[in-house]
């Protein structure tokens, strides 16, 4: 069973945001609000850590985005008291795909995620803030996110929390019930849900990932624990093939000291 010790997780994550933001000499974060539980939780934890005035939630709908998503994001803004802005991305996305009208939904979705990323980073510069991430551990392990899109951030309070833990913590910090209860969706097309696209439920895969990754169960042990061999193999393959999304680009080694191979410094160097 995945632990959901919400009071401890909350304490750690609030301290993390406060520490990591202030040590670079800043007081603020910006976060993209999708109306889903991950970004709602990230924004509400940041509000608790830094004060709601120091958090800017940006809603970035495309013309086909569901009205419900925007409505839910607004609920979170109201409830948490954070600052907010709505910036439509329709014009720039449509201008680009006029040139490539045959692009499939995946290309379109990735492009939108990256467009939103550029807006968040621009606003972080405009407002002397850091971009707070919203990718949870389940998505990161499965590679279910857009590289340099929604996966991009300066600090990510949710990156070591499975979706199951995000739901539990979301409830504890007061993410609106309707946001927690709805089916997770990347909202790339009408009626899309993550679980239908992935082919399994988050709760189901979280139990497997927790044993496989956190507890380092081997294949035989996982099957003995009740998971089918196909499911175990499929998830193991997904983790392996998405490893590139969790790393910096590969650099060809030429010198004696290559960045991130034998030139090793913490990110908080001097902080």
């Amino acid at each position: 069973m995945i632990p959901t010790n919400v009071s401890l997780m909350r304490r750690i994550l609030v301290a993390f945001i406060r520490n990591e933001v202030r040590k670079v000499g800043l007081e603020r974060v910006v976060v993209g609000l999708s109306g889903g539980v991950d970004s709602s939780l990230s924004a509400m934890l940041a509000a608790e850590a830094l004060g709601p005035d120091q958090v800017l939630g940006i809603m970035m709908p495309y013309r086909t985005s569901s009205a419900e998503s925007l409505e839910h994001a607004r609920l979170v803004v109201e409830k948490s008291g954070i600052r907010s802005a709505t910036i439509e991305i329709t014009a720039q996305i449509d201008a680009y795909f006029e040139v490539f009208p045959d692009a499939d939904p995946k290309r379109r979705g990735n492009k939108m995620a990256r467009e939103r990323m550029t807006i968040l980073y621009d606003h972080s510069a405009r407002w002397d803030a850091l971009v707070a991430g919203t990718s949870n551990k389940t998505e990161l392990l499965l590679g279910y996110g857009t590289l340099h899109g929604d996966m991009a951030s300066a600090l990510n309070p949710l990156g070591d929390l499975y979706k199951t833990q995000v739901w539990a913590l979301g409830e504890a910090v007061g993410v609106p019930e309707v946001v927690i209860d709805k089916k997770p969706s990347a909202d790339l097309w009408e009626g899309q849900t993550d679980e239908a696209e992935l082919g399994f439920s988050y709760r189901e895969v979280d139990e497997l990932l927790y044993l496989m990754v956190d507890q380092r169960y081997g294949r035989t042990e996982l099957i003995a624990a009740g998971f089918t061999a196909d499911f175990v193999d499929d998830i193991a393959r997904r983790i392996m093939t998405s490893q590139f999304k969790r790393r910096l680009p590969v650099i060809a080694k030429v010198s004696h000291r290559t960045i991130d191979r034998d030139f090793r410094y913490s990110r908080d160097w001097g902080k």
Binding site: M1, P3, T4, N5, L8, M9, R11, I12, A15, F16, N19, E20, K23, L155, F263, R264, Y265, S266, R267, D268, W269, G270, K271
Partner: protein, 275 residues
């Protein structure tokens, strides 16, 4: 115990924290202040190790000696030898002098740790005499090896000073703290009671690259009772009394160290090594 949040790689800024800690100690009539492991430099130093290292003749050592004229102190720093080995060291300063140097003997190099990549391993573990009795310093992981505590007890120490940079990790349902804090509290209490010693644990707080340090510094007496205890995650300065009377009472009630058969241990250890 000065439960501080050092800046990674900024010795000057951390020296200012040391000065403040010594001032706090002096104002509260504290005799000895223990700073956490590598708290003069920060913990996840990686390639910064040679840049923040001090030598016995460095000006930082002179500054720490000067501070110890007022209050005895344990500093956590990177110590460079004449032949350019870098040690994760804790230095005991008293009366304006270096009284003892402990170089960490167990450098964790697994999971999230990579100490043996950057540091040379210490090769000695000695008790030493001070104004405050006979002490042993064990740095963080050193204390996880029961052999070090056993040696400290046999070497006549009544108090173990343990500076650490212990990262929080592992969330369990029903637990108030992370799994690592729970384990530390379990072993320090067991050691204190088993060996009839005081354990003085000084742990840091703050975050480095997302890794938090849990704090919770404190003193356990030879009965395993808490003498004093700092909070978790936040900076603190906490002090308590280490009373030799308590050690005397405990060791009178249960004279386990008196009865310890060192020859038996040595014979069996030699056999184990031979085999």
């Amino acid at each position: 115990m000065a439960q501080i949040n050092p800046k990674l790689g900024d010795v000057a800024a951390n020296m200012a924290l040391y000065e403040a800690g010594v001032r706090d100690a002096a104002s509260q009539d504290v005799d000895l202040v223990i700073f956490p492991e590598l708290s003069l430099t920060g913990y996840f130093l990686r390639d910064m190790v040679p840049d923040v290292a001090v030598r016995l003749a460095s000006p930082e050592m002179e500054r720490l000696k000067a501070l110890s004229r007022e209050v005895s102190l344990v500093a956590g720093l990177v110590l460079e030898s004449e032949d350019h080995r870098f040690y994760n060291a804790a230095v005991y300063f008293e009366g304006g002098e270096v009284r003892h140097i402990h170089r960490k003997v167990y450098l964790p190099t697994y999971g999230m740790f990579d100490e043996q990549r950057y540091f040379a391993r210490g090769g000695r573990l000695r008790a030493f005499d001070t104004r405050h009795g006979r002490l042993v310093i064990l740095i963080c992981e050193d204390l996880w090896h029961p052999s070090t505590v056993y040696l400290a007890a046999l070497d006549g120490a009544l108090t173990i000073l343990c500076p650490s940079s212990s990262p929080l990790r592992g969330v369990t349902d029903g637990a108030e703290q992370d799994d690592n804090a729970r384990y530390w509290e379990l072993i320090t209490r067991s050691y204190a009671e088993t060996f009839g010693m005081f354990i003085v644990h000084s742990n840091r707080v703050g975050f480095e690259d997302g890794v938090g340090f849990w704090g919770g510094s404190g003193i356990l007496d030879p009965f395993g009772h808490t003498v004093c205890k700092a909070g978790y995650y936040d900076e603190a300065f906490v002090a308590g009394e280490v009373s030799h009377e308590a050690a005397r009472r405990k060791r009178t009630r249960a004279p386990l160290m008196r009865d310890e058969d060192v020859d038996l241990t040595i014979r069996e250890l030699e056999r184990i090594r031979r085999e």
